[in-house]
Amino acid sequence: MNLSLLWPLIRREWRHHPWRHAVALLAVALGVALAWSVHLINRSALSEFSAAVRAANGEPDLALRAAAGGGFDDAVFDRVAADPTVEHASPVLELDTYAQAPGGGRVALRVIGVDALRVAALAPALLPRAADGEDRLAFLDPEAAFPNAAARARLGLADGGTIALQSGPAWQRLRVAGTVAAGGLPLVVLDLAGAQQHFGALGRLTRIDLRLAPGTDTAQLLARLALPPGVVAVAADEATQRVSQLSRAYRVNLTVLALVALFVGAFLVFSVVALSVAQRTPGFALLGVLGMTAAERRRLVLQEGALIGVAGSALGLLLGAGMAAGALRLLAGDLGGGYFPGITPRLQWDAAGLAGFALLGTASALVGGWWPARQAAAIAPAQALKGLGSIDGSAPPAWPGLALLAAGTAAAFAPPIAGLPLAAYAAVAALLFGGVALVPAVVHALLHAWPPPRGALALLAVQRARFARRTATAAVAGVVASLALSVALTVMVASFRDGVSRWLDSVLPADLYARSAGSSAAGEQAWLPPGFAAQAAGVDGVQRVSASRTRSLPLAPGRPNVVLIAREIADPAAALPLLEAPRPRSTLRDGEVAVWVSEAMVSLYGAAPGTTITLPLGEVRATARVLGVWRDYARQFGTVAIADGDYRRLTGDERLNDLALWLAPGTDLAAVQAALRALLPDPAMLEFASSRELREISLRIFDRSFAVTYYLQAVAIVIGLVGIAASLSAQVLARRKEFGLLAHLGLTRRQVVAVVAGEGAAWVAAGTVVGLLLGLAVAMVLVFVVNPQSFHWTMELVLPAGRLAALCAAVLAAGTLTAAFSARRASGGAAVQSVKEDW
């Protein structure tokens, strides 16, 4: 029998129950839409960000970069450019700083000093274009600046006007002499010599971009060049890789969460199709008698699932593209992680992704329809026509579920793959599928152990449950899957939020915080003078000041920079949120300095307590011994804390970036801020936040980052409840004649409703217990494995008992009420008539 013959049957079923199928279709559509939009948004944002990075970096064959902040001697350039295999070489000084905004305040931007005569071959987007009226050689003028379109827009710049760039605690005022084509974030191009002069980097470079002759052996070239210690060679796509690396774990986590919605959608398809099959059992039986084979019945149901999948996927892809376009316009591609600031990406299409998500949506619906299709195939036509069903007393096999649970547990202990918790995700999937697969065996064991009750109502309920074990299993499995997901997400978010909240308490002990720059990179230019801390301590109301210097260190090519914090660390246990007691300084060997590192340093660089790491501090490469590990939820890619005295001794760098201020009780915060700002040439050079504000901002960012998980929880619960409703309705509808008979035998309608509600409550309660336990197991994998492997930080497991109890109670109540409601409808006059039909 081909599809054209089956199609009228499918069409009639859909026409009879349009809403039911629409809900299943919508569930698939939502799952596909969420996954597709997350994919599109991330792809668009990454692509735009990478394009901006490429515009600023050009497209060289090879780049020689400073291994540490502060750059390297520009004498290296002459040697490199002279090599016969180097066709083009472009020297660059690149730094982050601020420009003075028109209405006060500052705008972060990148300054790129280039040799305009050399840059065109490697990074044409950075080639200065002189404005009308400017000298043709204005790009050689050290006082001329060439901002890109983003900088012009943000700063309201016009040709011939002035741009003020921060260099230390002072503004460098330059003439706007034209523009550059580079898109993306605000940047300004200067002549290399001018940049070196204005930013205290005379004779320094941060990068040399190279175009090599075809066939050049890079290894041989590097051997010939014998680069000094402060210079490293990086591949052409290193910068793009670094951008990708920066957000990769977050993107993968979001995608996995989005796929979870699809998984839950598959459950809804399962519930709806199972309900439809249960309702059509007599029809299938009749078709069987008329000659439709079991395989054809299976194919018919699978085709219904496939149709839901195809239609849902198509709708989901449209919806997802719309959601992505909206999100890119409203959120500028930042889904809460803050990895792509300041860009407004355009939607980037991806044909392979489109096909992949369409297939995924269809496959999820087919998986959802697989079990009901088997049920339809297994119908014994003669028995079903008599309404007698078939007896299946055999125990369902427990080994598939147990094997999946065992595999999930084993995978939870596996290390990350390619820096991602792929094994842990597999563990979560195996635990979920294993738990659900174990439900039939658990249900069977429970019922087997329960002797037949004496009371009529209890007997009817228990024996019915035994008889309809598979249907009950379907309802319970839906509860288990949706509740497990919700519990896992609730526990994970609660644990993380609690951890962040407690961490904020420990890292924000002062009353007021001041900083010179919003990032460690910008801190190289936007800094406070050495005596500023002492001056701040003299301000009325200030009782104590703790100053710190923050800078960015490149520890490994292709990886985001590590943050170095030099601060007062007399007592490490008091100064840092250490995970365990620190090693004493007496364990240091000659020539070593003490450092305390964040957890990310341990997982990314193996910097466990007792080991040593090399810190590239400009020309100096210091050997530092790790004396302790601390928790840092603010920086994902590693932080090193060093005592300010040690830092100054090693580098001679007296600059400061941050101040923590303890104030006398009753001190006016605004007055202190005004007094501190007055110590600088421009009040905009200092940003303030109270500990309360920082705490609120941090938790707000946290909540925004996890907004998608709240949405998923809601989706999981709603779909779970719809699944319960569909499964229980299926059972109840299949029992209409039974209710009619019971009415003839003298059962009141209330008693019938009580039997069914009791059955529903018992099943949902069993599902709730299994779902809760499974959810806690999945939460442990998320908290103890996925988070550390994704973001390199740990947290403690927090069980929000109230919220979990409310979640379970809501599911239990909704399941019981649904069963009662369904039974009430099914036990009305129609039930009596269903018996009469056969008279």
Binding site: G387, I391, L460, G740, A743, G746, L747
Partner: protein
């Protein structure tokens, strides 16, 4: 045991029957004939309190059915009525013994010995642990009859109980019902199209749109 007087029922503007009056005493085995669609099943439903007549009165076991609440109607059916259907309506998830014993359990009087005795009486001894799906049609109908009589109801309403059975099995089922009336003293109203079944009744009635009239059982 059963007194029906001036009963009328119509579905919307279409009358089904009117002026139906009949009486059944304990121990009487009465057959009710009638064309298809004349309202035989509707009459049984009205007697059981599962359908509301438009006119007339029904008294079962001394109680006026129309005045009973839903709960009281259920209680009346539980205590005084036994049903046998053409399509058996045996619950597939209960064993034979559990199906037969269900009315006793509903009355709060589970009695395994009584169940065994009734199963013996209908010729199903030894099949008590079987599932309905393991029985033949004739056996299923005997389970239904056993269930209808196990709690010793005063009135048995049997609607085409032999309609799906072969003549030999039908004969056996009718014997059980007849014995229940004559030996246990129940009133039994048998709706049937079968002349053979009607021939075994003490009285034969024919339902028409205008009422019930007696028929000679040899003319049925």
């Amino acid at each position: 045991m059963l007194h029906v007087e001036g009963l009328a029922r119509q579905y919307g503007p279409t009358p089904v029957f009117a002026g139906v009056s009949l009486t059944l005493a304990r121990g009487e085995f009465v057959a009710l004939l009638g064309e298809s669609g004349v309202g035989k099943s509707t009459l049984l439903n009205c007697i059981a309190g599962l359908d509301r007549p438009d006119a007339g009165r029904i008294v079962v076991a001394g109680r006026e059915v129309a005045t009973l609440s839903d709960d009281d109607g259920a209680r009346l059916r539980r205590e005084h009525l036994g049903f046998v259907f053409q399509a058996f309506h045996v619950l597939p998830h209960l064993t034979v013994a559990e199906n037969v014993g269900l009315p006793l359990r509903l009355l709060g009087q589970p009695d395994d010995r009584r169940v065994q005795a009734v199963l013996d009486a209908v010729g199903l001894a030894g099949l008590d642990a079987r599932w309905p799906a393991q029985l033949s049609g004739g056996q299923l109908q005997r389970v239904a009859i056993a269930r209808a009589v196990v709690h010793r109801p005063g009135l048995i309403l049997a609607d085409e109980p032999t309609g799906n059975l072969d003549p030999a099995t039908a004969e056996r089922v009718l014997s059980v019902l007849q014995a229940q009336a004559h030996e246990a003293g129940a009133a039994c109203l048998l709706v049937t199209h079968s002349a053979a079944a009607a021939a075994r009744a003490d009285r034969v009635l024919r339902l028409t749109p205008t009422g019930v009239r007696p028929v000679d059982r040899h003319d049925a």
